[in-house]
Amino acid sequence: MSQLQARFFTENKRYVVDDVPFSIPAASEVEELSSVINQLLLAKDASHSKVDFDFLVRGQFLRTPLSFHMETEGISTEDVVEIEYMERVTAPEPEECMMHDDWISSVDADAEWILTGSYDKTARIWSVEGKPVMTVAGHTDVVKDVAWVKREGLTSLLLTASLDQTILMWEWNSERNKVKARHCCRGHTGSVDTIATDPTGSKFCSGSWDKMLKIWSAVPSDEADEVEGPPDRPRKKQKTQQLGLTRTPIMTLSGHNEAVSSVLWCDTEEICSASWDHTIRVWDVETGGMKTTLTGNKVFNSISYSPLCRRLASGSTDRHIRLWDPRTKDGSLVLLSLSSHTGWVTAVKWAPAHEHQLVSASLDNLVKLWDTRSCKAPLYDVAAHEDKVFCVDWTESALLLSGGADNKLYTYRYSACQTDAGA
């Protein structure tokens, strides 16, 4: 068996080995390399306990025998191979299972609370430990998306978007556990499928089936906006019934030819929206103009942006997750395509603290944890759901959430990014 010259290095100070080339068997796999490193570390420090490592060769995870990997990547076997190693990301461990009355359409979690939207026309607030805290009922139809706006002490602002064409802004006091509808945002003429609050928490954007994006103020006030339009009798009647004060959009962005499926804020001035018309558009909030159009060839279900790696991930109906660079001009190419799902990808989400990791949910009942450095296969498949998965989310406190058509919201504990993020 042939041998290869390899030099190991790591960014984690705890596991540094000598910077000398080692001769290793060409056919060695991750386990063998891992044991090599462990022995080296043990020789240096007797108190070392065994750690599983993952190996990167030229920025790609090693998943096959080393020689095969180098052959496929086109790396010369004559030179000394630089192999980076890091502690292996451990599998997400299921933690809680929160039962809902109906399908879960959306989830938004922060460090303390989890907010879910459900097809039973309510939104629910849960604690991260999995205790039901509050049911927010007020919509007349399915809640399609939920979002936290901001939290000031014990009072939180949250948003729910629904198929009944409204977005409700609620104020929730966690101490008294009271929820109060502050505003009813009217203006969309189709079901509101997606909302996103801007990083400062002063505005939010909504995308709807009526092909429009609308930007609203997220600051609660005590005055109702004037509703323009023909005053008909039925509407006035409803208006008296509605919750909260009416609010109208600050700005409407039109340009999509089909329903808007996903919207997000890249930064305070830039909105990114994905649509069924096979495009992702980047908008300027100040001017209300379109900046860039990224054109795909399938319906986009979900997008996610990572400020760490400045990449846009999109999940579409053709089972692939694609990574885009939103700053490139029109006609940009797909940077990377992650394909392992067998159904529509319904949700994608970048890790909040890791520039390479993202999680995706699909109609094939699977949640997959990906690393962009290994695009052929995901890091882990999470097969907890028994039906379609509609939403995923991460929290910075090492919690991964997914909800779907089996009425269950699962939380998983994943090996938080401290080892990697710290490195």
């Binding site: 189709g190 039925p234 089909e258 018309d277 399938k298 379609k388 058509a405």
Partner: protein, 685 residues
């Protein structure tokens, strides 16, 4: 003249050899004279090269040698050069120009004349033209008149001697005249009398070779039998054979022994063979005649079948094929037009993405809302369900109380209404799933202005739904006298047509106007069992499909425009290509659809659907598969539409021998929905 004589003498001596050397020596006594001819010859040499020079240098020194010894002053005078016939420029760089007879150098004369002197000389000297420069000696010679004359004669090609007559009469010894005396009186040789031994030897050798057979004597051609010509021999090389496809006429086989008047006995028939021959059918016989033996040619009777045989031969020549038939040797696969690869025709649905479960019986009809957000399905379990397309969530279930035959969404995006056909009722549903304004406008449309009952007796009764049904969204009921199989909307959304197939009545199709709650029967006569009807998506045409034909009616002119015969057994469904303008084109597509489907599906076709945007159509069949085809229609009608089956979608489970019952496309995306007998609706993307 004296000098001339000498000159000719000297030349004579040249010609006639050394005998004349004596005469030369006689004349040598006069020094100045002898010098001249050499120079003259030298001058002549320039014109007649090779003629005189051959002998001058060789002879003269020889016959001068003794004279030179005799006369010392002559030696002084004669500065004859001995270098021979060489280019004199070889001596150009030397002070001398050669060697004299004593081997002493001959020095070049001192030249003191320049070009100017030369020119002056040329102008002034009257003898300049006869002045010659001798290259060999470097001296200048002035020719005398005689010498000039000699040069002129030689130049003219005349004999040098003036007195020589080259035309003096001659005696001819050998002439045509026969002389009485022989020319010679010499007796003949003896050898002319005796035979030649050499010839004898040669002859005996030839005789021996012939005897031994080494030499064959020339064959004598025997022409006693006359000459024969092969008529056919050169035929193939005739003009006809130049035609590539020419086929030569069949030849009569040459006669054999059995046709002889005196055949060998084995060719004669035995009694058995003869009996067999007589029993056989004339066409089965090996020979058309019986071989016969005659003792002599005189006994042979006249040939009885002569006319018959000649006639047959003429027929043969007349009927035989004269041209080789070119059989086109084509690979049948080449005749199939090149179809584009399905990969290049994307997008089209390829995989099953969503399954809509909830119905408890087979689903006969599905319809997608114009916005593409909702999917309505009607099932035999008595419910109409409305699903969210993107999540396969059942949003509404409406109990209608009967097996639903057809459910169709109103194509007008400004209203949100569903038409449901079940039993003998057409229901108008308002699912209230759209914008509030759309919902209210559709409610307004339903309220309408309730006109007084139409005078026409169509049997259709309109009524409003009440109570529980109203809560479910059912707004209007149109009771028909017979079971309704199909209901279709007009593109504007106000009219709808319902079909009550009945072979025995003219009341098969009803057209309803929703806003005025009015029904009418457009046809007075029964033209066959109506299978389905359809409105043209853009133009005022109405299509009625009976079992085997499609009739097209113009709604404005109220007349039939066209009747089309389909070559399928049973038209079960119609669909329209959305963008084409003309009616003929539209129906063309319909028929092609029928035709194509007949070929690809193993069982009956239940439904066809066209995509509104993409050039796709789908057909559903009882064999449980949905075939998606890519159809390109060209603007010029001459070009056949290109239809490529791109995908067979399977997913439905066969239940009660029924597979897929209805198929429909998503209005904006290249997705196809199919409903089956297995109680599911499937979305393929």
């Amino acid at each position: 003249p004296e000098e001339d004589e000498d000159l000719s003498d000297s030349e004579d001596s040249v010609y006639s050899g050394l005998e004349d050397s004596g005469s030369d020596s006689e004349e040598d006594e006069e020094d100045g004279f002898f010098n001249v001819p050499g120079d003259v010859f030298h001058a002549v040499l320039n014109h007649y090269s090779g003629f005189c020079w051959v002998f001058l240098p060789t002879r003269l020194p020889r016959f001068f040698s003794k004279d030179m010894l005799m006369c010392p002053f002559l030696v002084l005078q004669d500065i004859r050069n001995t270098v021979g016939n060489i280019p004199m420029e070889w001596y150009r760089d030397f002070p001398h120009i050669g060697y004299d007879l004593d081997g002493k150098k001959i020095y070049k004369p001192i030249r003191n004349k320049d070009e100017l002197d030369d020119f002056l000389d040329k102008m002034e000297n009257p003898d300049y033209w006869r002045t010659v420069h001798d290259n060999q000696t470097g001296s200048v010679i002035v020719l005398s008149d005689e010498q000039v004359e000699l040069v002129n004669r030689l130049q003219r090609g005349q004999f040098g001697d003036i007195n020589f007559n080259e035309y003096q009469p001659s005696v001819e010894y050998f002439s045509s005249d026969v002389m009485i005396h022989p020319v010679t009186n010499r007796p003949e040789d003896k050898r002319s009398f005796i035979p030649s031994l050499v010839e004898k030897e040669k002859v005996s050798k030839l005789v021996h070779a012939i005897k031994m057979g080494w030499i064959k004597p020339r064959r004598v051609e025997d022409n006693s039998r006359g000459t024969f010509y092969d008529l056919w021999a050169s035929e193939d090389s005739s003009i006809l054979s130049k035609h590539r496809m020419h086929l030569p006429a069949p030849k009569i086989p040459l006669p054999g022994h059995n046709e002889s008047y005196n055949p060998p006995p084995e060719y004669l028939f035995t009694d058995e063979e003869r009996a067999l021959w007589e029993q056989q059918d004339p066409s089965d016989r090996k020979l058309p005649y019986v071989p016969m033996k005659f003792s002599s040619l005189r006994q042979v009777p006249a040939f009885p079948r002569f006319i018959h045989e000649r006639f047959e031969r003429c027929l043969d020549l007349y009927l035989c094929p004269r041209q080789r038939k070119m059989r086109v040797n084509v690979n049948p696969e080449d005749l199939i037009p090149k179809l584009p690869k399905p990969k290049d025709l994307q997008p089209f649905p390829t995989v099953q993405s969503l399954v809509y479960r909830g119905h408890s019986s087979l689903i006969r009809s599905i319809s997608v809302s114009p916005s593409g957000q909702w999917l309505a399905s009607g099932s035999d379990d008595g419910t109409v369900r409305i699903w969210e397309v993107c999540s396969s969530r059942c949003m509404k279930t409406i109990q209608v109380g009967g097996a639903v035959k057809t459910v169709t969404w109103n194509p007008n995006p400004a209203v949100c209404l569903l038409a449901v056909a079940l039993n003998s009722v057409v229901l108008i549903l308002s699912p209230a799933l759209a914008d509030r304004q759309v919902v209210s406008s559709s409610e307004r449309l339903l309220l309408g202005d309730q006109e007084a009952e139409a005078a026409e007796d169509t049997g259709a009764v309109w009524s409003e739904a009440e109570g529980e049904e109203l809560n479910q969204g059912i707004r209007l009921k149109v009771h028909h006298p017979k079971a309704v199989h199909q209901v279709v909307w007009h593109a504007k959304g106000d009219y709808l047509a319902s079909v009550m197939p009945d072979n025995s009545s003219h009341l098969q199709v009803l057209i309803h106007q929703l806003s005025r709650r009015r029904s009418q029967n457009p046809f007075r006569r029964n033209k066959g069992l109506v299978q389905c009807v359809s409105f043209h998506p853009v133009r005022p045409y109405f299509f009625v499909a009976t079992q085997r034909s499609v009739r097209i009616y113009n709604l404005v002119k109220q007349e039939m425009t066209k009747k089309l015969q389909a070559n399928s057994k049973w038209i079960s469904s119609m669909a329209f290509y959305p963008v084409c303008g003309s009616v003929s084109l539209t129906v063309l597509i319909v028929l092609i659809t029928c035709h194509l489907i007949c070929r690809h599906h193993k069982k009956a076709v239940r439904g066809v659907a066209y995509h509104r945007v993409y050039p796709l159509f789908a057909s559903a069949s009882d064999d449980g598969s949905v075939i998606v085809c890519h159809g390109t229609v060209y603007n010029d009608l001459l070009q056949n539409p290109l239809i490529v089956p791109v995908k067979v979608l399977r997913g439905h489970v066969m239940t009660h021998d029924l597979g897929v019952l209805d198929v429909t496309f998503h209005p904006t995306q290249p997705w196809v929905f199919s409903s089956g007998a297995d109680n599911t609706i499937r979305l393929f993307t």
